[in-house]
């Protein structure tokens, strides 16, 4: 209330000047504000901010990845909030089969959170949509494509239809099991396992720097990030507790992950769910930068011409959630002769690859359109090598390549470039 009074201090003289009838009505409306527009009963939806968002003139619309991909008003942030509000108050009945499209809209977000930069209320739209998903889940209305992901997590411990960590042998990835006395736990993301060359490169870099680390692929499970996105918090917490145990067993001083999604999940999302990982968790680019600063890693070789001119695609989770846009650049600046080009939308203004959040499950073609948009932005730099530091980005960008692009453009992880310069 104090905050509201401060914000509306300027209205003091206006209220004083009102005639009695109007003032009475005004004060009644002020008091009844929540009751007037908030639904009765129990719900988890963040009604206050859904209303703030749905009545906003869409101040973030120009930077909303899904809207820019689809180019339909239906995808606009304020409309998503409006539908979230109507689903919550029952104006649109979520239990009716004919309203499935309205429910799906609650999942058509790539979690890039560009909106938060421009939001007059300083929230992200996905943070609101997640609260609507909570209510949908409570009503047993989780969409099938989300249920499929939860089933996969429960059956395979990963977000794949098989336990992707078990494929390490056939992919030639070295597994290092902990002796309980690690310096570092190299925490490999489920999606990173799709890029064995990246994982191998990271292992090579850690070894070269003389780091004592483990990978623990025999017991490794997903961080639970997908369950957090879907808001199946029971499953998410189960994975959080399992990861907490696994991390503690390593005795590591620091958990270093190659997947920004894992870092965000292991830190802020676990914290919000009431689970604290006592160990520091960072993305591997931050760790590599430390190793360089400490003189433990040096890049002395020029990379081949093929990789000598690269374009940086900042993973939005590193740039905006972990607030780190310097590590990648600091590392790349240590590679002799490397020409770095920056796309127009970079650092904390980066546009998403399309493959984060729930959008790629809810509407794959939407996610691909978003990926194509990003590929087109990256192509404008004239460089044919797109460099990132996130398996989901590397996956998403690959979906965004046209047949012609596939012949000319290479998408690489920073680790793959670094081992070429060792």
């Amino acid at each position: 209330m104090g905050e509201i009074l401060k914000k509306y201090k300027w209205m003091g003289p206006i209220i004083d000047a009102m005639d009695r009838d109007v003032k009475r009505l005004f004060m009644k409306n002020f008091r009844m504000r929540d009751k007037n527009f908030f639904p009765e009963g129990e719900y988890k939806a963040d009604i206050k901010n859904l209303v703030n968002c749905m009545l906003c003139p869409n101040m973030c619309r120009f930077d909303c990845g899904t809207l820019q991909a689809e180019q339909k008003e239906t995808m606009s942030p304020a409309y998503k909030a409006r539908i979230g509000y109507y689903l919550t108050i029952g104006k649109i009945d979520p239990s009716k089969e004919e309203n499935k499209a309205f429910i799906d809209l609650m999942y058509k977000c790539s979690n890039e959170e560009s909106c938060k930069i421009w939001c007059p209320f300083e929230f992200s739209v996905v943070s609101l949509l997640e609260t609507v998903r909570d209510d949908l889940n409570d009503k047993g209305l989780m969409p099938d494509y989300c249920k499929e992901q939860i089933d996969k997590l429960k059956k395979t411990n990963t977000i794949e239809d098989h336990n992707i960590y078990e494929t390490y042998k056939e992919k030639g990835i070295e597994n290092i099991e902990t002796d309980g006395n690690d310096e570092v736990y190299y925490y490999i993301g489920c999606e990173s396992m799709k890029f064995p060359e990246v994982v191998k490169a990271n292992i090579e870099l850690l070894k070269k720097a003389g780091v004592r680390f483990s990978t623990n692929l025999e017991t490794k499970v997903c961080c639970g990030g997908p369950a957090f996105n879907i808001r199946d918090l029971e499953t998410a917490k189960d994975f959080a507790n399992r990861n907490k145990d696994l991390i503690e067993k390593t005795g590591a001083n620091v958990v270093v992950s190659d997947c920004p999604g894992c870092v965000v999940t292991l830190t802020s999302r676990y914290q919000k769910a009431g689970i604290e990982i006592g160990t520091k968790v960072i993305h591997i680019v931050e760790y590599i930068k430390q190793l360089i600063d400490e003189g433990k890693l040096k890049f002395e070789k020029n990379v081949s011409d093929e990789f000598s001119k690269i374009t940086i695609h900042d993973p939005c989770l590193i740039a905006r959630n972990l607030n780190d846009t310097t590590s990648i650049r600091a590392i790349l600046n240590k590679i002799p002769g490397l020409e770095i080009s920056e796309p127009m939308y970079n650092k904390d203004s980066v546009h998403c690859c399309g493959w984060s959040g729930t959008a790629h499950w809810a509407d794959r073609s939407l996610a691909i359109k978003e990926a194509k948009n990003r590929v087109n932005e990256l192509k404008e730099t004239g460089s044919n090598v797109f460099l990132s530091a996130c398996p989901l980005c590397e996956l998403g960008l690959a979906y965004g390549l046209s047949e012609g692009d596939k012949e000319n453009i290479k998408i690489i992880d920073i680790a793959e470039l670094l081992i070429k310069a060792l």
Partner: protein, 493 residues
């Protein structure tokens, strides 16, 4: 059907489409099935623009109007075919882009086809020597400005709706931005255009700095609000990104002093990009934290461009303010304005208090500008339920100004929010017209002001209507706006 759960506001005179499946099929043949929809989820998304009363309705579970179809064309030829079909079937076509209009211009009040221009979103060419950018009309303003900034230019058109509006919307509504004293308004910026006429002809106005080749027909379409044609592409002026900005602010003891100072600045042919006068109420609201602004009228200036010119403009601006009793307040108020100018939160809060609010911008010559301001404030205050009427002056010319009034009120119990809204609008517009001003400066006519077109235009309105009839004999392009008023029954104080 969910739509039935919503109260429909504009429900009279809706077009009756006898064979909707056939129309949908034919639209699909034109734009592809993926680019046409009559799904509820899409129909509901296009029921309104950003007209503030529609936000109250949104919260109350009402919808402004219902389109029958949404189409997303990608070429002028597709638009042409859609318009030909609409003429054959006598179906309204309502151009839409970012939906940021605030006078109802994109509300499909009779139903019909919403023609969304979002897919016309390419920035085609920058010509450095000519200082032009050619851009498709659906391009978002901020995305254009960011692109220009990255290449070392500015478009100079920075309205508060920059984030939420499109190039086509600017042209349709003859828009003006916050930096317009230096860079001009939309009509000063457009150098060439491609558009589709109501019967489907695609015409182009060549890009040229100036010509004497008969009447300026292109200007007819700047401000046509999607009633005479649909702009698909435009070539706009651009400028090198300013090398220096000077932030200046002064507090004046009276509104009249502030007007006089700014008038003298313009008279000396000094054009700060931004000039904004806030009346005492708005000064308290926006600059209440600044001690020197207490009980005063705040004016902020931004001079920008090459350094030598900026320095000269800043010097003359300061001298003129001081000659007119201005007290210097430094850069902080301007920095505050820069930080907060896009932080639009009131649109979200006022409806939750069941308040009805809006902004009305009007044009006036210098001679009676202060008098007009006071007469509008007095007239609005006399409407039962109005609790606030304030203004700032946002646009300046050597010959006149653009005022921007903000009103808010609680509808009295005997009136609906819509009746109250119309009453305030009509009262303010009448006061402006009575005082000899122009009822709109840069938001356009739309629905909210069309009732007053005969007053504003006099006999010339007949000519305008004749042109509309010539170009659009079936009245299919954005009907219910400019030439006719669904508000005829709206309250007038």
């Amino acid at each position: 059907m969910n739509i039935e759960n919503f109260e429909l506001i504009y429900k009279d005179s809706r077009v009756i489409i006898k064979d909707k499946p056939k129309i949908k099929l034919r639209l699909g043949e034109i734009v592809g099935n993926e680019n046409v929809s009559d799904n509820e989820i899409d129909i509901l998304a296009y029921n309104k623009d950003t007209t503030l009363i529609t936000l109250n309705w949104t919260l109350e579970g009402k919808i402004a109007a219902l389109p029958d179809f949404i189409v997303w064309p990608e070429t002028p030829e597709q638009i042409s075919s859609i318009l030909k079909l609409a003429n054959e079937e006598k179906i309204p076509v309502i151009p839409f882009s970012e939906g940021s209009g605030v006078v109802g211009g994109a509300i499909p009040i009779y139903g019909g086809i919403i023609l969304d221009m979002k897919k016309f979103n390419k920035i085609l060419e920058i010509n450095d020597k000519d200082l032009t950018v050619t851009v498709e009309a659906g391009t978002n303003g901020m995305n254009l400005e960011r692109y220009l900034n990255a290449k070392g230019y500015t478009g100079g058109h920075i309205p508060q709706s920059l984030y939420t509006s499109s190039v086509g919307g600017w042209i349709a509504h003859r828009a003006a931005g916050q930096f317009s004293s230096k860079y001009g308004k939309t009509e000063d910026m457009v150098m060439g255009m491609e558009l589709v006429l109501p019967k489907g002809d695609v015409i182009k106005f060549k890009t040229i700095a100036r010509a004497s080749t008969g009447p300026q027909l292109d200007k007819l379409f700047i401000g046509n609000e999607g009633t005479l044609g649909i702009v698909t592409k435009a070539t706009l002026k651009i400028w090198p990104y300013p090398e220096k900005r000077a932030f200046i602010s002064y507090a004046f003891p009276t509104f009249e002093d502030s007007l006089e100072a700014t008038r003298q600045i313009l008279r000396q042919q000094i054009y700060p990009a931004v000039i904004r006068i806030y009346d005492a109420d708005e000064t308290y609201r926006h600059f209440g934290h600044i001690e020197k602004a207490k009980d005063s009228v705040m004016v902020v200036f931004v001079c920008e461009g090459i350094e030598r010119l900026v320095d000269l403009e800043a010097t003359i601006t300061r001298e003129t303010c001081e000659k007119n009793n201005g007290i210097e307040c430094g850069e902080e108020p301007v920095e505050h304005w820069f930080e907060t100018r896009f932080r639009v939160t009131e649109t979200s809060s006022t409806p939750t208090f069941k308040m009805v609010a809006d902004t009305i911008e009007i044009g006036f010559l210098w001679d009676k500008a202060a008098e007009m301001y006071h007469s509008v404030v007095e007239a609005a205050k006399n409407v039962k339920g109005v609790i606030m009427i304030t203004a700032h002056v946002s646009h300046f010319y050597p010959n006149g100004v653009g005022f921007y009034f903000t009103f808010a009120g609680i509808p009295p119990q005997e009136k609906s929010d819509f009746q109250f809204y119309q009453e305030v609008w009509n009262t303010i517009v009448k006061a402006v017209e009575d005082a000899g001003g122009s009822f709109g400066h840069h938001h356009g006519v739309g629905i909210n002001r069309s009732k007053w077109m005969p007053v504003e235009w006099g006999k010339a309105f007949d000519t305008l209507k004749a042109i509309k009839n010539l170009l659009d004999p079936n009245n299919i392009l954005n009907p219910g706006k400019i030439y006719e008023s669904p508000w005829e029954k709206g309250g007038e104080n």
